[in-house]
């Protein structure tokens, strides 16, 4: 057993996850008997666990208080009794109850979430009452306002939140700045850009009425079909197939539609039934429903609208971290191209336009051990972070002042100077060339400074 394995088992034992007599426990004891370092670790971990339990005590009390506050404002039994009546179809009773008891319930318990609360998503029970309307997808993530219209309504759009179930025939629409991710039962994903409308049909088919759609199908799953009108008010349709394991972006516009095969070959069938295979990374344009030519696609720029959705998943989301790496590599390629060095390329401009939203993903990239294998990319991340980091990133930047790479420290110090107006007697250039000991001291000074100035920063903001 290695010391690393032993340390995992020490944690497991302290957390009650390693029963006595378990072979791993026996092996751990044998290792501890012969390893003084691990015995010290075991003791330190035990003490640390008790300290952590104490440190989290106020937090646990807060959790109890939160639960009690939530419990106090939850719906009363009476309203749900009425809801149950309504669901059972006793129409006359519902009307009578709603008229006579509804207003009184609000007056009696003003703190309740009353009937006006926005339970706008179709319930499972509601879905079940529709003909053949079993849920086929779920809203996983959204930015901005997203609406759905059930299949049995013509134009009754209601806002939806993540978690809402969608049934066959439901339509989904996004506002200009909104993005939404839908997940199908088999794990396939459909993402819609702003100002997009799509309808979920049976047999893994999505009808794109307008806008832009991205789809991904897991390997081993059947292909996903997206149909779209060839042009406004035109007859026939264009069909795009996302293959198993494939990813596709499809933008449908009056002037012409563009299909980009992000990963794996995609297939597009034009309005005359002619099929075109689009290899990974290529794009095909369709004008009036007819394929008019294939070219190399710009995958990163075409799908930049996905960035906001991916950021919702957290800075360490694997898809986002991979995208950050690709974007940084692309920025490096752009900077070595023939254009003037002072002008950022389109990818860098696109990232800068999204501003401080990139701060956490960039900081996450710099901290990741994987970034160490490509210093150029890491330094590009640090340079962008220096320009984009908001005040909330000051803690991260102070952390980067301790980085082993002087250039990373330089960019972190530059950002701190920009955000705080301070250098604490060590300029960015000095931070870059300081030996390890001085670096530690600078970092400690910044930590102390930040602890002292956090409250003032709040008042000033």
């Amino acid at each position: 057993m290695t010391c690393e394995e032993a340390e995992n088992l020490i944690s497991a034992r302290i957390d009650g996850e390693l029963p006595m007599g378990d072979p791993a426990a026996v092996a751990l004891d044998a290792h501890l008997a012969g390893c003084a370092a691990c015995r010290a670790t075991a003791d330190a971990t035990q003490v640390q666990d008790a300290t952590l339990v104490r440190a989290f005590a106020p937090g646990r009390r807060s959790a109890e208080a939160v639960a009690e506050r939530v419990a106090r404002v939850l719906p009363s039994r009476r309203r749900y009794w009425l809801t149950a009546l309504a669901a059972s179809g006793l129409a006359a009773g519902i009307v009578l109850a709603a008229v006579t008891l509804g207003p009184r319930l609000r007056e009696d318990r003003p703190e309740e979430i009353v009937a006006s609360n926005p339970i706008t998503q179709p319930s499972i029970a509601e879905l079940a009452t529709r003909s053949a309307a079993a849920p086929i997808a779920q809203v996983a993530l959204s930015t901005g306002e997203v609406f759905t219209c059930p299949s049995h309504k013509t134009d009754e759009w209601q806002p939806v939140m993540p978690g809402a179930a969608l049934a066959e025939g439901d339509r989904v629409r996004t506002n200009p700045s909104a993005r939404v991710e839908l997940v199908l039962a088999d794990g396939s994903q459909v993402r819609l850009n702003g100002e997009t409308e799509a309808r979920l049909d049976a047999d893994r088919c999505v009808e794109l009425k307008q806008g832009q759609l991205w789809s991904a199908v897991p390997p081993q799953c059947p292909p996903l079909r997206v149909t779209a009108p060839p042009a406004a008010n035109a007859e026939g349709s264009v069909t795009v197939i996302t293959p198993p394991g494939g990813r596709v972006d499809f933008r449908c516009a009056p002037a012409g539609s563009v299909l980009t095969a992000i990963h794996g070959p995609a297939t597009v069938t034009d309005k005359l039934g002619s099929e075109t295979r689009v290899p990974s990374g290529a794009a095909v344009t369709l004008v009036n429903g007819l394929a008019s030519g294939q070219s190399a696609g710009d995958v990163l720029l075409t799908t930049r609208w996905l960035n906001e959705l991916l950021m919702l998943k957290g800075p360490d989301d694997p898809e986002l971290t991979a995208r950050v790496k690709d974007l940084l590599s692309r920025i490096n390629e752009e900077s070595t191209a023939t254009r003037p060095a002072a002008a950022p390329g389109p990818v860098e401009q696109s990232m800068r336009a999204q501003g401080d939203r990139w701060s956490e993903p960039l900081a996450c990239h710099i901290r990741s051990p994987q970034s160490l294998v490509d210093r150029t990319t890491r330094l590009t991340a640090a340079r962008l972070l220096a320009d984009l980091a908001p005040p909330s990133a000051i803690g991260d930047l102070i952390g980067l002042l301790g980085d082993a790479d002087g250039q990373v420290r330089f960019h972190a110090a530059t950002a701190l100077h920009r955000l705080t107006g301070q250098t604490l007697d060590r300029s960015p250039a000095q931070c870059a060339s300081d030996p390890a000991e001085a670096t530690k001291q600078t970092q400690a000074k910044w930590l102390a400074w930040w602890e002292q100035h956090k409250p003032n920063a709040a008042q000033g903001s």
């Binding site: 995992n8 020490i10 009650g16 104490r54 009794w81 993530l141």
Partner: protein, 197 residues
Amino acid sequence: MSDGEMVRRALAGDAAAYGQLARRWAARVLAVCHARTRDRHAAEDLAQEALLRGMRSLRTLVEPEKFGPWVIGIAIRVCLDWRKSPKRGEVSFDALAGAEDEDRGPGFANDDADRRAADTRREQAERLMREVERLPEPYREVLMLYYYQPDGCSYRDLAELLGVSVATINARLTKARQMLRSRMMSECESAADERSA
């Protein structure tokens, strides 16, 4: 009673089931909010908001047994909205400034020596919490989920909630503790260096 059963009872009109769900999940929702915001006080408001949104939308939950991951997803969304909000800094900083008084509790000692000892313990706990908040997100999240729960969370529950293996939970908790020990130690060394300088 399982989460799924509670959800079904709540939807059938059992108001107490809502409260039970809130009590069962509040600590984990708060842990996720704290991990995502690194601000305990803002996290309390956000956790409350997430739980309320979850309860209001309970009817849209497709798989009642997955109430936990679902409400955690709502909490993540609420935190992301907060992070995009221009006013988030105000909440954060004010909250930090007022954190300590609340934690003294009614039984705070009157005797000077006891008070000093209690002050030291509280300062240590605050320093430790600051370091927890500075851990990289995967480690911060798992550590907070574990310690916010009154009796700890089983590795299996955590694995299910975060969609990773039990071994990953074990490794992340171990690494989080290791990083914390190392950071606390270097902080002590820095303080000692400063005193001796």
